[in-house]
Structure formats: C-alpha cells, structure tokens
Amino acid sequence: MKEPLRKSVLAVGPFHPLQEEMEFFQLTVDGEKVTDINVRLSYNHRGIEKLSETLQFDQVPFLVSRVCGICSASHPLAYVQAVEEIAGVKPPERALYVRTIINELERIHSHLLWVGLGGHFIGYDTVFMWAWKYREPVLDLLEEITGNRNNYGNVKVGGCREDIPDELIPKINQELDVIEKKTEMLTKAVLDDPVLHARLKGVGVLKKEDAIKYAVVGPTARGSGIAIDVRRDDPYAAYADLDWKVISQPEGDVFAKAVVRLLETFESIKMVRQALAKLPKGPVAVDVKEIPPGEGCGHAEAPRGETFHYVRSDGGNRPVRHKIRAPSYVNVPSFKASCIGADIADVTLTLAAVDPCYSCTERIAVVDGHSAVIHDYEELLRLSREKTARIKKDIGTSPMKLEAF
C-alpha cells in the first residue's frame, strides 16, 4: 500500500565534509518538496564586534580579516574605509590600486572555489578537483605579494601595509594568462554541457521581488536581475578608474548565479591587468595620527556581495562601536524564498548557490528538531547526485570536456 504523504523533517548539518561551517537547517518536507525552513545560528558566533571595542583602531583589521577566511580582504577594506571616512583621510593613489589588485585576486580564487563546490554537490568531482587546482596559483601569488595565502593583513587605516614590488608584476600577468585560459575552458564546459543546463536551470529560483524583500546582495542579487555592485555604485579603491562591467542575469536560478560568477572572474582578471598597468608610483600609505569623534560607513564588494562596516569613534584609541555585516547575513535568509516548493534533491545546491559563508554571518544553524531525522546531509548529497545521474541518463552523456590535469 502506498504510504500517504507526510510532513517530515530533514536536518542539514551541523557537520558535514564539504560545507565547512556548522550550520543546521531544519527543513520540513511534504514528500519530496520542501515546505518550510528553520535556521539556527550560533555555532560560529565568536563575539567579534565586542572584541573590536577592546582593540585599537589599527589592530582591528587583523581581527576582521578573520571574520571570514574567503572574504578576508573585503572585511578589513570596508572597515578601514569607514575609519578613513571618520578621519577624513585619503590614502595615496598607489594604495588604492594595490587594494584593488588584492581584492580582485581574492574574488578570482573565491569564485573558483565556489565553482568547485557547486560541482561537488551535483557529483561533478572532476570540476571540483579542477577548479581547486587552478585556484592554487592565485593563492601562491597572494602569498608572494602579501606573505600569506589567506588573511593577507594588507590594509591599514591610511593605505596599505605592503607594496607590490614592481619585479613581481610580469609574474602576476603571466599567471593571470594561465588562469584566464583555464577559466575559459571551465566556463565553456559549464555553458555547453546539456546535463548541467538541465540540472541547474530552473533550480533554486530566487524571484526578483523576493530578492528585494530579503535585501540580497552580490551574485545572489545579480543572478536575479538586480544589477547592484558596490564597486560601481559607490566606487572605492581604484574601481572608478578601471574599465569593467557589472555582470547580471535575470533568471534567478542556480545556473544564472554560476554564469555570473564565472563571467565575473574574467572581469576580475581584466581589472587586475589594468590596475597593474596603471599602477602609479608613490607611497602606499599616509600617516594617520588620530581618529576624531564621528561615525563612518564603509562598504566593499566581497565575492559574496556587499560587506558593510559601520564604525563610531569618540576620539579615543578604540572604536566605540563596530558593526560588521557580511553579505551572507542577508543572502542566507533568502534560502527560504528559493527553497520552499523545491525538491529535496536540490536543497544543497540551492544553498550552495548563495555561496554561504556562515563564518561571515557569525552563525551556524541549529534547530531543535521535534521529529526524527529522516535524511542527513550525506543522504541529501546522495539525492542531489542521483538527480544528476538521472538527468545524464535521460539526455545521453558525453563526458564534460575538460583537458587532463
């Protein structure tokens, strides 16, 4: 006898191998469709805003760089911009260009990371290995420039802590050429693959009106036709001097977001090349003696969207208040709008499409379930990959055209 449809609860989280932070989403489902989502955060909450009040202004960039590992250039940049607003400080031109270069390099490796994770969720582990292999040269470059693969510690109030040595510029350009070729190949493979089209199109759609209600930002917004980008809207660093475009797609599904991220990677490569070519001579920092009383807002376009910092000073050495808003804070709740009514096989992918960075949001979800767990994360991943396999079978496969390692 066929079992009647019943409401059941799936728990996604709190630990699983590839979605790095602990998060716990409790999904209520009716058969195969999601009907409700509850999210509990807290696992990642460290209390950074309060800690910031105990540090001096020039110590804070090191702290906020570690709000999120993969947006670790954007947070300190947004913060120092807020403080520079309070102090009325303008960093030298060379500093603005160096900031742009580091931030765009970060965007490149962050988007490649996402492409890899997306591939993993749908069972394209070759894409995962491949994308992550080609992130490595970017991380190595960042290490040569700043001293660390992540957590660069490159900005301070008044400019940058380190310069990009001119001798390094030809090497950066060389690496960019290689990365561009590889990204071209990856993009073509994604855009041409009929299985990916079938698997990703129409999945996890975030409608434009929902995107506005949830105030989403970044590729999540640009993938739903909302073409906002802080680099163009409120230009900072050297973005106003460079020639680039804001990429957006109207459909709002996972495919659209993938396309936005891939095409943005090319724009970033373009921007780094231009910035290197136009890098002005001069110092990379001005001396800032004190921060007067006041308040400032700094925002930067992190790979996931707008990172917003609000800082208030009372004329002392430390911020009186430092508000940190990472992009995932507004993007993750939109999961509710994009997941309700969706297949459970698509849940992991839809969440991944938001490119959640829970540590950014200082949260991890935990929900006290009242019902027994029916499917855990492993199960959801399996369902996602099975769906891909079914689609492959229906369409008739030809292996994804990626050259050998």
């Binding site: 807290s42 105030a215 308040e295 208040r321 808003r325 804070y329």
Partner: protein, 146 residues
C-alpha cells in the same frame, strides 16, 4: 535615483525627522523619534525603493540607538535612519520586519545582544547566542565586560 532627486525626496518626510545630517554627499543621516521609525523606513524602502543594508544597535550608555542603514545604489548614497531609545530598563521599538523580511535576523540579533524588544516582530526568538547563554545578559551592553 540620482542624488539630487534623492535629496529632494528626503525633504518630503522632513516632518517625521528631527533633522537631516549630510555628513557627505553620499552619507546622509536621518535622526527621528522612535514612534516615526516605521513610517520613515516605509518611505525609504517602499516609496523611494532604497535597498535595506542592515541595522546597528548601540548602547550609548545613557540610552540606546538603533540605526537602520539603507542604500541608494544608483548614486551610492548610504541613508541611515537614527533612532534614540531612552528607556534603558525595557527598551522597545517598532519592528520593520513586517515591512522588510530581510530585517528579521538583525532585529533578533539586536534583541539577543542588546535586549531591545521589537514590537510586532513575527519571530523574536534567540538567534545568535548559545542555547545555554544566560537570559538577561546582553553582551553588547557596556556594563558587560569584553
């Protein structure tokens, strides 16, 4: 909308504000009384179509402040509504979540960390502090040591 159009539009709600503070061309602060906060935010979000960015809660020792930040992406202007809550014992403010679902989490967070109650919030439960965090201890308040 363009900046000069925005400036013009903002003067339409001047009667609901206690001032318009233009710190820079692209940074405008709108202080207002607590009872007008919903109306001002509705004007900015629904009528002017500004994007909600986030809210900041501040313990200014004698009183609380809640700042709602909005962005006019077309001109890159951040418009911040600034509200003062003088009742330190039981601070309350009207929630803007019924208007802007994207504000749900931050109001819950301000409730957790500062103890501000948002009236008419659809789901004012604990969001960000641990299950075993003691009730009544609000970490962002100044009396709590860092």
């Amino acid at each position: 909308m363009q900046q000069n159009e925005l400036d013009r539009q903002l003067s339409r709600i001047q009667d609901k504000l206690t001032g318009i503070d233009r710190k820079a061309a692209n940074r405008v602060f709108l202080p207002c009384e607590a009872e007008n906060v919903y109306e001002v935010c509705r004007f900015l979000f629904s009528e002017l179509g500004l994007r909600f960015v986030i809210s900041t809660g501040i313990d200014a020792t004698g009183y609380f402040e809640v700042l709602h930040h909005f962005s006019n992406d077309e001109s890159g202007c951040v418009v911040t509504v600034k509200v003062f809550i003088c009742n330190r014992e039981s601070p309350e403010l009207d929630s803007i979540t019924p208007l802007i679902p994207g504000a749900e989490w931050i109001e819950r967070e301000m409730h957790d960390l500062l103890g501000i109650t948002f009236r008419h919030h659809p789901n004012l439960q604990r969001l960000i502090l641990a299950d075993d965090w003691p009730e009544g201890v609000y970490p962002l308040r100044k009396e709590v040591q860092a």
